[in-house]
Structure formats: structure tokens, C-alpha cells
């Protein structure tokens, strides 16, 4: 499982808007609006509804938490909380998880959800899934149904990450008899059921009358897809939709901010915009060059220019919503003089670097700023653009034919995936691996402490530069409630929305 996967095939980074539903959501106090419907505008239409065989962030955004439930999910603070599993225990050796499942959940094909379905879903990741994310399940040795409501999962080694991945699409629970037409007719236990997919236009979800939890407020939700950010804004301005799930052009926000009819929500996402380095290139083997590049960039000025000042400056691969977040922007403050002297010391002044950009709005605009700032420090930067996703994937991500690139990594908790020797960053660091392994195997306190060390390590080593964290920007009709401030999961949770 590599962290770009989710981002790339969709429209990187901008899809990560999501909510996390707390067990006692705001909707529980409101009577469901039986005839109320809601239309949400989003940016990238899924190519298929089957996230077991098709990559991209758009599919779980629409389906996870709405049509599918997992055993566990993340709440708004990032904590792992019960979903289809009422509770769970971990054995002292941290290798065996015993889940107690709810007994009243039904799939939309009429079948009861039992531990057998959970075993089926977990095993199926290894056998039938084809996307690269499936490797998150490799650590599972066996999954067995002790009783209809008791599931036991044994791991080959202790892994905190496994339980976390179970909150993502990897943990979605499928019906044993409902996986024949996943691409066009998904079957799950969630608060909504699939109603209609008008290709090229929208996906319609209906409230699941048999839902086992508290019923969602809206009887019908339409997810409407827009390729063009202006068309998306116009649709809200003219009342075609009620919510813009992901603002694509932050510079156009001003038409909503001054208007009483709308609310603008701004928070954080998991989308770290990286200026990535090909650490296998001789020039980047010298830490002074990497550090010089980090010092040469004025991050605040860059974010102001290329993303209208929206977003958050981060100094490492951790968003503020993760438990091990620390403000590390102080590790490489803007200092042109230091950058110049570092480059001089490394003998790299005047070196030419190829910055190969995907054709994505933030990459294109930030690329120019990066080029001008690095050239002030004495480097030469050649920019070329690669069509996204296909050409960029082939040349940069798969082929490693680049010196630097700019891309947002939107997958949650993706430090390990992004910074390793096999990934396109080619970052080979045994010390980092040691921290990460310790974090994965230890208890909660150990995990937090070790992850902090890991985050500090890549920042000090300048394994890449973190330009900024993409903001979660939502614009909606004033009366829509329950929209998430921070987008930290893969799903856009519809069950908490009310009017």
C-alpha cells in the first residue's frame, strides 16, 4: 500500500474531504427529514464503484461510511471508535484482536451481517483485491468466526497500523452473497443504499430504512460531479447543489465569504503537498543540498501565491489531526543566505535540477514559485509538465525519471509509505525504519513517541520539502449542519448532515 494511490487517479489531494461519524452523531437528536434531499458537488467522478479493483479517492469518498461500514472507524478527533464491532480486546502479545460485533446489522441484499461476513471480507482483500492498498492486510495471519458475533483476527506481528487501516476502505465489510456487481451495484450495511448512477453526472443514495444505527436525516443525497471548478461554484450560486464538498479554486472563495446565504468551513486535511526529491540522485545524496533547498523556500510566500494563502504550513509528514503531530516548521526556516552557503559547501551551486510537475492546479502554480526561489539561491531549475495521472505515474512515480516533483499525498498516516527506498522518493534510511517499526509494534504511548521521532527524523534529514498542507474548504448553504471542519478520513460522511 502506497500513499499516493488514493490521490493520484482521482484528482489528487482535493478529494480528501471527509467526516468521521461519532457514534452519537448530531443527527440523533433531530427527526429524520423524510422528504428532504441534499445535493453535494464534488470534483472527481469515480470511474467504477468497486474500490477493491479500481484505485482512486473518489470511490471511498462516496461509499465508505455511507454504503459500507467497517468494524471500526475514526471519530472527528482521529480516535479509533466502534462501528460494526461494538468493542474489541487486544491480547498481551498485541497479535490477537477479538472483536464483538453488533447483532442487528443487515446488508441491503437482506442478509444478516455476521462474523462470517467479516472473515470473508478480510480474507477477500488478500485473494480478490487488486489495488496496491491490499498489502495493508498482509500482516493478517488468520481471521476466524468464533460465534456469529465474535471475530478473532491473528496478526503475524504486532501492528498498530493494521487496526488503523481497518478504518479505511480496506476494512469495509462486504456480504458473502453481495460481491458480484461491486462496480455497478454495491451492497453494504451502511446508513445509505445505492440508488442510481448517472454516469458523467451524479450518484444518488437513498436512506437505508433497515439501517441498524440511528437513521440519517436526509432521505436522499445526490453526489454531483463537476470537472470544472467554475461550474461547481455556479451550481451552488444558482441553487443546483447545497454543498461544495471540496473547493477547487480557493482564489474564488471571495464570492461566498461575504454572502449571508453561505457558510465557508476551513480546516485541515491529510494532503501534504510535497516538493519531493529523488534521493537516489547523486546530487541529493548530499544532505547539505537537501537542506539548502528547504531553507531556500519561503513557504508562507509560496502558499500565499499559489493557494491563495489557504492551508497550513507543516514541517514534516504529519497533519495536525494525527496524535503525534508537532509543529516542526522551525527545523528549516526560510534563510536564503544559509541556503547559498550550504550549496557552496556542497559544491552544488549552479547545478541543474529537473522539476517534473503533474498537470494539477497546485503543482503548476507552486512549481513556478519554487523555481524562482531556488534560482535565487543559486540552483538552475528546469520545469516540465507531465499529464496527470497517466504520464506522471509512468515517468516519475514508476520510472523514477525525475529530480524533483510536486504532488500532494492525501492518504492518511502515510509517512512510512512515502519515505522508503522502494517508493519514488528512493529514501533509504535504516534509522527511520527502526523508529517506524517500534511505533507499529508498541503500545499507544510508544507509538506516539516513536512516530514523533520519525517525523522529526525525515524533517532534519530533509528527505523532502513540505510546501504546505492542503486545506479542507467547504462552502455550503447556511442552514446545512454537521459538515466536518477537518477532513481526516477517506469518506464523506453523509449520515451526520442535517438541515
Amino acid at each position: 500500500m502506497k500513499s499516493l494511490a488514493a490521490a493520484l487517479v482521482g484528482s489528487a489531494a482535493l478529494l480528501a474531504v471527509a467526516a468521521c461519524s461519532a457514534g452519537s452523531g448530531t443527527s440523533s437528536g433531530t427527526s429524520p427529514g423524510a422528504d428532504q434531499s441534499l445535493a453535494i458537488g464534488l470534483v472527481a467522478e469515480p470511474a467504477s464503484l468497486d474500490f477493491t479493483t479500481t484505485d482512486g479517492a473518489a470511490i471511498p469518498q462516496a461509499l465508505l461510511g455511507n454504503i459500507y461500514n467497517g468494524l471500526v472507524k475514526q471519530d472527528e478527533t482521529g480516535k479509533i471508535v466502534p462501528d460494526l464491532a461494538k468493542s474489541w480486546t487486544v491480547s498481551p502479545d498485541r497479535k490477537t484482536y477479538t472483536f464483538t460485533l453488533v447483532d442487528n446489522a443487515k446488508f441491503t441484499n437482506g442478509q444478516q451481517f455476521t462474523a462470517d461476513d467479516a472473515v470473508f471480507s478480510i480474507d477477500r482483500v488478500k485473494t480478490a483485491w487488486t489495488t496496491s492498498l491490499k498489502s495493508a492486510m498482509d500482516v493478517v495471519q488468520t481471521a476466524k468466526a468464533v460465534s456469529p458475533t465474535e471475530l478473532q483476527v491473528t496478526l503475524s506481528k504486532p501492528s498498530n497500523d493494521w487496526l488503523f487501516r481497518m478504518t479505511t476502505r480496506i476494512g469495509a465489510m462486504f456480504s458473502k452473497t453481495g460481491v458480484d456487481k461491486l462496480a455497478t451495484d454495491p451492497v453494504g450495511t451502511g446508513p445509505y443504499k445505492f440508488s442510481e448512477w448517472k454516469r458523467g453526472d451524479s450518484i444518488v443514495l437513498q436512506r437505508n430504512a433497515d439501517y441498524w444505527g440511528s437513521k440519517p436525516y436526509f432521505g436522499q443525497v445526490t453526489l454531483k460531479y463537476f470537472k470544472d471548478p467554475t461550474a461547481l461554484n455556479n451550481a451552488l450560486l444558482t441553487g443546483t447543489i447545497n454543498v461544495i464538498g471540496t473547493v477547487q479554486a480557493p482564489e474564488a472563495l471571495s464570492q461566498f465569504t461575504g454572502n449571508d446565504k453561505y457558510q465557508v468551513i476551513e480546516g485541515t486535511t491529510n494532503g501534504e503537498v510535497l516538493l519531493s526529491f529523488n534521493n537516489s540522485r547523486p546530487v541529493f545524496k548530499d544532505i547539505r543540498v537537501r537542506q539548502a533547498i528547504r531553507s531556500a523556500i519561503n513557504h508562507q510566500a509560496l502558499m500565499d501565491t499559489c493557494w491563495a494563502g489557504r492551508g497550513k504550513l507543516i514541517g514534516s509528514m504529519v497533519p495536525p489531526t494525527d496524535p503525534w503531530y508537532e509543529d516542526l516548521t522551525g527545523i528549516a526556516p526560510y534563510d536564503q543566505a544559509k541556503a547559498k552557503s550550504l550549496l557552496q559547501a556542497a559544491g552544488a551551486t549552479g547545478a541543474t535540477l529537473r522539476l517534473r510537475l503533474p498537470t494539477l492546479p497546485y503543482a503548476t502554480s507552486c512549481g513556478q514559485v519554487v523555481k524562482s526561489q531556488l534560482e535565487q539561491a543559486g540552483l538552475k531549475v528546469q520545469i516540465d509538465q507531465l499529464e496527470f495521472p497517466a504520464a506522471w505515474l509512468t515517468s516519475v512515480l514508476k520510472g523514477g525519471d525525475y529530480d524533483m516533483s510536486i504532488i500532494s499525498h492525501v492518504e492518511p498516516r502515510d509517512l512510512r509509505q512515502v519515505f522508503n527506498a522502494k517508493y519514488y522518493t528512493k529514501y533509504d534510511d535504516p534509522t527511520l525504519k527502526q523508529y517506524l517499526d517500534a511505533a507499529d509494534a508498541g503500545d499507544e504511548a510508544t507509538q506516539i513517541a516513536e512516530m514523533k521521532k520519525a517525523a522529526r527524523r525525515i524533517s532534519e534529514q530533509a528527505a523532502a520539502d513540505w510546501l504546505f498542507l492542503l486545506p479542507n474548504l467547504i462552502v455550503a448553504d447556511k442552514n446545512i449542519q454537521g459538515l466536518p471542519k477537518n477532513a481526516i478520513t477517506e469518506s464523506f460522511d453523509l449520515s451526520r448532515l442535517t438541515r
Binding site: A47, G200, D201, F226, A231, A235, T238, A390, A391, T394
Partner: protein, 315 residues
């Protein structure tokens, strides 16, 4: 007449065959492996190879080409690489949408161009004719998508008279269908109308200089009735030619306009196919567009004969 029909049909069939080779060939050399895009960035090479086998992408190109062509001839457009859904029904659905848009635009273009061009020609030395002429020049210079954006800004966002975007099938809600059709059809139709106006004007001008029109006037017909009875049919021949050519432009314009107005037509299917590297969809859609343009040109050729009896006896 028959000879001409046979000749045109032969040209049509050869053009179709050549263009199918070109469409297939260009897509075959396009970078970016569809199987890799479908499976995500770090899918194993084995998984990619397996998917290539499922799609039949591992077979020789000639086999793939003839399979594709044979399937198309039988109405089987294949399965999408990404969604695994049959492509044929999608193309049919989307084509209907685009057809509404294109046909409405042609009607608007004709409704604008025929009277405006005729008036411009008849009054080409007067101020009103010159003013119209200048206006049509502006129309020619504006691309359809810009016209669309401007129309949305004024009529949807500022005035709120019409929806900014979207599409509703006519059977579902005819009122909404019409309201949503107005702006996209206008942005395509007005621009094409402006282009067409120039051709109508020059065709009518040519006709006005003809001897038979002078004769008609000499018989005592007033200028417009003379033009109406004797001139317009002659002026129609070049205009029909241009209209046939414009249809290709309209189909391409529809691709862009569909995006501006978020219309699920053939154009947006094509764009989605390109960005998802769903190459079979792209291949099928492009081929359908090529067939549409070639067939329209074929029909235009036949229409000449209907319009101009002289062509029936040339051979």
C-alpha cells in the same frame, strides 16, 4: 445520378476504413498503460499483466484491431477497462444528449444566419448591413466556451433566469430539459450562426449579381420576392456545404461546451475516458464521431444533387 451515388459510397467506405486504422493506431502508441492506471500506482507487475491479459492487450495489435472492428460492426463496443461496464449503451445514452445539443445549435445557427446573412447581403452598402456584418465578425471571433461562460454569468448567476449547468432527460422533466438546454445551445448556436452568416452573405451576394436575378427584377419583381423565388435555392448550395463542415466543428465545440455546462454527453464521456486512460472508450467515441462526420458529409453530397438539378446530368 446512380454513378455518383456509387462513387460517393465508395469514398465513404474507404474513408471509414482508413480512419478506423488511424484511430486504432494513434491510441495504440499513446503512452500510459491502461491496466496500470486502473490498478493504481503500486500494483504489482503480475497484477498488471493479469489485467492486460483480461483486456486482451497482450495479443498482437492486428488481432486486437480486427476484433475491435468486427465487434463494432456487430454493435459490440466492448467493455470499459475501468468500470467493466459495456460501452455501447453508454455511447447510445451520451450520443442522444449530444445530438439534442448539436441539432438545437444547428437550428439556432440557421435561424440566426439565414435572415441575418440575407439582410446583410441585400443591404451590403447600407449602414444596417455593415453594422450586422461587424456584429457577425465579433461572433466569429468568440469561442463557444467563452460565450458559454459569459451567458452563465449574465443569465444564470446575475439574473437567475436559467440554471447555470446540468442536464435533465426530456422524458423526465421537459420543462427543466428546455431550461437547461437554452444556454449551452445558444453558446454553440450563436457562434456557429455568426460563422454561417458570413457564408450566407457572400452566397447571397453572388446570387444578387447573377443575370437571372436581374431578369427577375426586370420582370417587375421587387428585390426580396425576387431573391426569395429565384435566388435562395442557388445560394443554398455553398451554405449547405459549409453547414456540413461546421457539423464537425459543432461536435468538437460540444466537447468543450459540455464541460462548461456539466452535460453528460459524448464529449464528457470522451474527456473522462482520456483522463482515466479508458482507451477503449476513447477509441469507440472517437470512431463514432468520425463516422458521424463522414456520414453527414456523405449526406451533404447527396443533398447537393437534390438542390442542384444540374449535378444530376453531369454524367
Amino acid at each position: 445520378m446512380l454513378l455518383r451515388l456509387i462513387e460517393r459510397t465508395a469514398v465513404l467506405l474507404v474513408s471509414l476504413a482508413v480512419s478506423s486504422v488511424l484511430v486504432f493506431g494513434f491510441l495504440a502508441v499513446l503512452p500510459g498503460d491502461p491496466a496500470r492506471v486502473a490498478l493504481g500506482v503500486n500494483a504489482s507487475d503480475e497484477a498488471v499483466a493479469e489485467l492486460r491479459r483480461q483486456f486482451g492487450l497482450d495479443r498482437p495489435l492486428t488481432t486486437q484491431y480486427f476484433d475491435w472492428l468486427g465487434g463494432m460492426l456487430q454493435g459490440d463496443f466492448g467493455l470499459s477497462y475501468i468500470s467493466k461496464a459495456p460501452i455501447g449503451p453508454q455511447i447510445t445514452d451520451r450520443f442522444q444528449v449530444t445530438l439534442w445539443l448539436v441539432v438545437t445549435s444547428v437550428v439556432i445557427a440557421l435561424v440566426v444566419a439565414a435572415p441575418a446573412g440575407t439582410v446583410m447581403a441585400a443591404r451590403h452598402r447600407q449602414l444596417s448591413g455593415l453594422a450586422l456584418s461587424a456584429l457577425s465578425q465579433v461572433g466569429v471571433a468568440v469561442p463557444a466556451f467563452l460565450a458559454g461562460i459569459l451567458l452563465i454569468m449574465v443569465f444564470a448567476v446575475k439574473l437567475g433566469w436559467l440554471p447555470a449547468n446540468g442536464w435533465t432527460p426530456p422524458a423526465q422533466d421537459p420543462g427543466m430539459f428546455l431550461r437547461q438546454l437554452v444556454l449551452p445551445a445558444l453558446s454553440l448556436g450563436l457562434v456557429q450562426g455568426a460563422v454561417l452568416t458570413r457564408y450566407v452573405r457572400s452566397a447571397v451576394l453572388d446570387v444578387l449579381r447573377e443575370d437571372y436575378l436581374r431578369t427577375a427584377r426586370a420582370k417587375g419583381l421587387r428585390p426580396f420576392p425576387a431573391l426569395w423565388r429565384h435566388g435562395l435555392r442557388n445560394a443554398a448550395v455553398p451554405v449547405v456545404t459549409v453547414l456540413g463542415l461546421q457539423l464537425a466543428t459543432l461536435l468538437i465545440g460540444a466537447v468543450v461546451v459540455e464541460r462548461v455546462f456539466v452535460i453528460p454527453g459524448l464529449g464528457s464521456l470522451l474527456l473522462d475516458g482520456v483522463s482515466n486512460r479508458d482507451l477503449l472508450v476513447v477509441q469507440d467515441v472517437v470512431m463514432v464521431l468520425v463516422v458521424a462526420v463522414l456520414v453527414v458529409n456523405f449526406l451533404v453530397d447527396l443533398l447537393y444533387v437534390a438542390l442542384d438539378p444540374r449535378l444530376r446530368v453531369t454524367r
